[in-house]
């Protein structure tokens, strides 16, 4: 299968990538968990990004999304996750990409950060990837309005370089002070 944005030679290389596609248990047979960190590979447009697995709750199909008028920017609407209503953030928009009609590959990654649970709309899921510490490099990128400000770490796997999305920065982009406890919160 040809995954856009992913060089074919990556598929069978010696890089520490688990070839279990779309399977969250992909790291099960991993040798050493202490030194490695796991990431979910996701697609936005043609580019692959990584998301730390610790902030991820689950990945769901995108089959329903309710538009919320005058929602904070980048929030596309709300979804129903087994009775709980969650906002969904349009990562494409944050990356400066135009909206496209969702495909069958489109997913919503449900993530959590502090007290906030939020869905991230992505164009597809690639892999669950384990990376060693030395394959990660703290690196803030200059902001060019194309999503580079969401990246705090760069992963290096051979000659492939991917940005690791920082969920805290994603939330900060929405411009909502989610930490302030509003006393007008529903009882």
């Amino acid at each position: 299968m040809n995954i856009p944005g992913l060089a074919p030679q990556m598929m069978d290389s010696e890089h520490s990538m688990f070839s279990i596609r779309g399977d969250l248990d992909g790291g099960k047979d991993s040798q050493d968990f202490t030194a490695v960190k796991q990431f979910i590979g996701l697609l936005l447009g043609k580019e692959e990004f990584l998301l730390p697995i610790e902030v991820t709750n689950e990945i769901i199909m995108m089959n329903q999304l309710t538009f919320v008028p005058r929602a904070p920017r980048f929030i596309e609407g709300v979804i129903n996750l087994r009775g709980t209503i969650l906002p969904a953030i349009n990562l494409r928009k944050m990356m400066g990409l135009p909206n496209e009609e969702p495909t069958l590959q489109s997913r919503i990654i449900v993530t959590h950060y502090e007290e906030v649970t939020v869905g991230l709309i992505v164009d597809g899921i690639t892999y669950v990837i384990s990376l060693n510490e030395d394959q990660l490099q703290q690196q803030a990128l200059p902001s060019r309005g194309n999503g580079s400000e969401l990246i705090s770490t760069i992963s290096k796997r051979g000659n492939q370089v991917n940005g690791v999305i920082d969920i805290a920065k994603v939330l900060a982009e929405t411009g909502i002070d989610y930490q302030a406890h509003d006393e007008l919160e529903d009882p």
Partner: protein, 870 residues
């Protein structure tokens, strides 16, 4: 300290000193023959007190007033305090030395009792009660005795002393068997009998008094052995070591608010205590208010007494000494009232309320999990003065009104004796003359918990658990809807599947049971709104006293039931509104009179149910507000422009605007730093509607409309631009279908003439800026589905009429879908403040719909209209 009071005290002390010395000498003579240990103790006490008093007077004499002020702290504060108390209570002290002396004596007599008080902690409730009764009796006894001291003969002094001695043994009883007690009694009576009456006129009143006293003491003595176990258990050390004034003084020192013990660390027991105490406090609060209206009602007193007692017992058990002590003092006070020795005046009640407020703070500290460090002393002091002092002014009043001095004293004397009688008999639990109330109380004391149980067969449930249950039921309601729609779908679209009647039947049955469960679970959360109203009686009372206004609060409809969370949260806004009514609405009595109104202002607080809404009204007959003035003010504040056209009502409602309610207002609405906009916000948060109506001179009416419950709401589903929205049914008046031709334009606003009213129209897709949806992911997602909105024909428009009946707004939508029950959910911290959206709800098929916040929508459209006009 006031120089006048100081002089008065000095005079008083000078008066008392020789009296005391005289008595002491008499006692010492007698005791030379046979000095029982109690007597010796008392003598020592008195001596010490005497010494102290002389040093005190000495230190004051020869000093100038300012110096004396400086000196003051050097002497025993407590002593000074007590003296002060007796002074204060006596008021005009110069002519009332006898009374003052009496008060002093009362104080002294009271003090040997203090060890008993210390012991009460170790006693069972009933015994404590009995002891308490005795203690309260003693000041009385003393009061009337020395009242006659002006004509005091030796004999009487002796009799008096015997009496005083009689009290000391009572406190030291642990060493006495019954026989000893009676021996002691005989001894006590002996001096009185030994000395036959010498003088006639002065003797006569004294004699019956002595007898009464003796019989009372006898009753006490009899009562005492009834509690032998406790007596034995009581630590002996507590009694004789302390000197009398030290003992009393210790009472007025700060004690540790908490005394750690095992019960404190038991969270479930502590919780029980907290919930219980809340209820009890409310009970006491209510009862005291009623008592003020009806001071002679014994039933109310008994009620207070029981509640206070339970609370005291509980706090004692948990080691909350602060609460226990305050409660104890209050109990003493109530006991006096109960025994007709004290008629509660507003001042007394004020003191009691001080105590209640203090107790609330202490209880709050218990809830917060640590002592709060509030000083209990001032209140304890006030309480004990209220208890001790009140009889004195009464006597003094009698003294001043009657011409001849000796006669009133005599007259005044028998009255307390008569009062003491039933008290004594009830303490001895003799059925003969005890009022039925006393018997009733006895029962209550023995088993207060049992009595409570029979009154209400309820259980306490953690509200959190209940909330979980309510949420689950909410989910089930959604499931039911879903279940039913699946069934319908199967039946209609797949006739080839043989469902059988039992399936449909089950679905129906399930639906019906769900309805019942839902009804019940909603009722579980319902509490009478009276719970929120009750505290207002107190608020009004305090406010009217502090504002010097006469205000009656008339509460009706307190039985109307409302969701518990609503009842809890409506309190604050209501208090604010009521305060406003008192503060700015109701005029001063003179002003009212001048305006031809009843000097007593009235505030009506009412609640009633209207459909699935509760309507709360706060109505006052005060001076009202002038819309023109408010309008002018709003223009000044820049809230509206000069040209803005507003109805009177709209003008009035301007006071709810943020920024309007600041200081320096002609109308003086608010002024407490919290504006009416906060009230409005709070009401809106509860999905309520707030309305104001006022006319100058006539008064102001504020109406609050609240949904019965926040958990599950009936909603109307509408569609605009392919988006589905839910409109809570409680704001829907009706829905109509109109033709676009019927829409007229008034300026920028589209209106429709509905019957007699002009209906401003809001287009939902415009109001919700649904055009911005174009190109969004959800739009793209939906494009795949059938584009329903293309089917919508615009030759007919659907209009949902919402808002208040007398002031409706029409919302133009594309389609009316159906009516459904739904649970409004928060959409998480990121989606807190979406304009005009109250929350989200999940429909049966899993779709999320937004629930419209109708008041906000109306306000927003009005605001826009205003902005455009401006």
């Amino acid at each position: 300290m006031d120089a006048l009071v100081k002089t008065a005290i000095e005079a008083l002390v000078k008066k008392i000193l020789p009296l005391l010395e005289q008595q002491l000498a008499g006692v010492l003579d007698k005791s030379a023959e046979r000095p029982p240990p109690e007597l010796a103790y008392l003598i020592n006490e008195s001596r010490e007190l005497l010494d102290l008093m002389s040093t005190w007077t000495a230190s004051h004499q020869g000093k100038t007033a300012p110096k004396a002020q400086v000196e003051e702290p050097e002497l025993s504060d407590d002593e000074a305090m007590q003296l002060m108390a007796s002074m204060d209570e006596n008021g005009s002290s110069d002519e009332l030395n006898a009374d003052e002396a009496a008060a002093m004596m009362a104080e002294m007599n009271d003090s040997p009792k203090a060890p008993v008080k210390a012991k009460t902690e170790d006693l069972t409730d009933d015994e404590a009660e009995a002891l308490l009764a005795e203690m309260d009796d003693s000041p009385k006894a003393a009061t009337k005795a020395p009242a006659k001291k002006e004509e005091l003969s030796d004999d009487e002094a002796e009799a008096l002393l015997a009496e005083m001695d009689g009290q000391a043994p009572a406190s030291d009883d642990d060493e006495l068997s019954d026989d000893e007690a009676s021996a002691l009694l005989a001894e006590m009576e002996a001096p009185m009998k030994k000395k036959p009456p010498v003088k006639t006129a002065s003797q006569t009143p004294a004699k019956p008094m002595g007898d009464d006293e003796a019989s009372r003491l006898l009753a006490e003595m009899e009562d005492e052995p009834a509690a032998p176990a406790a007596q034995a258990a009581a630590p002996k050390a507590a009694a004789p070591v302390h000197s009398s004034h030290a003992e009393d003084g210790e009472d007025l020192k700060e004690i540790p608010e908490w005394e750690p013990n095992d019960f404190q660390s038991d969270p479930s027991m502590l919780n029980d205590f907290i919930t219980n105490s809340d209820e009890l406090m409310q009970m006491v609060d209510d009862a005291i208010l009623r008592l003020e209206q009806d001071p002679t009602n014994k039933g109310i007193i008994e009620e207070i007494f029981r509640a206070a007692h339970t609370l005291k017992g509980g706090s004692g058990m948990f080691g909350f000494k602060g609460i226990e002590r305050v409660m104890h003092r209050m109990e003493n006070l109530f006991d006096l009232i109960r025994k007709d020795k004290l008629v509660p005046t507003p001042d007394t009640i004020d003191v009691v309320f001080q105590g209640i407020d203090l107790l609330r703070r202490l209880l709050q500290a218990v809830k917060d999990g640590g002592p709060c460090g509030v000083e209990t002393v001032p209140v304890v002091r006030a309480l004990s003065y209220a208890a001790k002092g009140k009889p004195a002014p009464k006597a003094s009043a009698a003294a001043t009104t009657t011409v001849a001095a000796p006669t009133p004293v005599k007259q005044a004397a028998p009255a307390p004796v008569a009062a003491a009688k039933p008290a004594a008999s009830s303490a001895a639990s003799s059925a003969a003359s005890a009022p039925s109330a006393a018997g009733h109380d006895e029962d209550g004391k023995k088993d207060p918990k049992g009595a409570k149980k029979s009154e209400q067969s309820t259980i306490r449930v953690d509200l959190e658990r209940l909330d979980v249950l309510v949420n689950l039921v909410g989910e089930l309601v959604i499931d039911r809807t879903r279940f039913a729609s699946i069934e319908e779908d199967l039946r209609t679209n797949f006739p080839q599947i043989k469902l059988g009647s039992s399936f449909s039947e089950t679905v129906q049955l399930f639906g019906r049971h769900m309805n019942e469960i839902q009804d019940i679970i909603m009722k579980v959360r319902m509490v009478p709104i009276g719970n929120a109203f009750n505290k207002f009686t107190r608020v009004i009372r305090d406010l009217s006293r502090s504002l010097n206004k006469k205000i009656d609060l008339i509460i009706t409809g307190e039985a109307a039931e409302l969701d518990k969370t609503l009842v809890e949260q409506i309190g604050d806004p209501l208090i604010h509104l009521i305060r406003n009514s008192c503060d700015h609405g109701i005029e001063l009595p003179d002003v009212r009179k001048a305006a031809g109104k009843n000097p007593t202002g009235k505030i009506f607080l009412s609640a009633h149910q209207e459909g699935n809404q509760i309507v709360i009204k706060i109505e006052d007959d005060g001076k009202g507000m002038d819309p023109a003035v408010i309008r002018r003010k709003a223009v000044e504040k820049g809230l509206i422009s000069e040209e803005t056209q507003l109805s009177d009502r709209d003008s009035l409602n301007l006071i709810f605007e943020a920024g309007f309610s600041t200081a320096d207002q002609v109308t003086n609405i608010s002024g407490r730093g919290v504006g009416m906009d906060v009230v409005k916000k709070q009401i809106m948060k509860l999905k309520g509607i707030l309305e104001l109506d006022s006319a100058p001179g006539r008064g102001t009416t504020t109406t609050i409309r609240l949904p019965l419950t926040l958990a599950i709401v009936q909603s109307l589903l509408v569609r605009a631009r392919g988006e589905t929205f839910a409109i809570p049914l409680n704001s829907v008046i009706e829905s109509i279908r109109i033709s676009p031709k019927e829409i007229q334009r008034v300026g920028d606003v589209e209106v429709y003439k509905l019957r007699d009213t002009v209906l401003p129209l809001i287009h939902l897709d415009e109001a919700m800026t649904l055009a911005t949806k174009e190109g969004s992911i959800s739009d793209l997602l939906k494009r795949k589905a059938a584009l329903r909105r293309n089917r919508v024909k615009h030759d007919r428009l659907f209009v949902v009429v919402v808002g208040q009946p007398d002031r409706p707004t029409g919302i133009v939508v594309d389609q009316l879908l159906n009516q459904q029950e739904m649970v409004i959910k928060s959409m998480g911290p990121l989606m807190r403040n979406i304009p005009c959206v109250a929350g989200g709800a999940v429909l049966g098929h899993g779709e999320v719909v937004l629930v419209l916040d109708i008041p906000e929508l109306e306000a927003a459209s009005r605001g826009r209209g205003r902005m455009q006009a401006a």
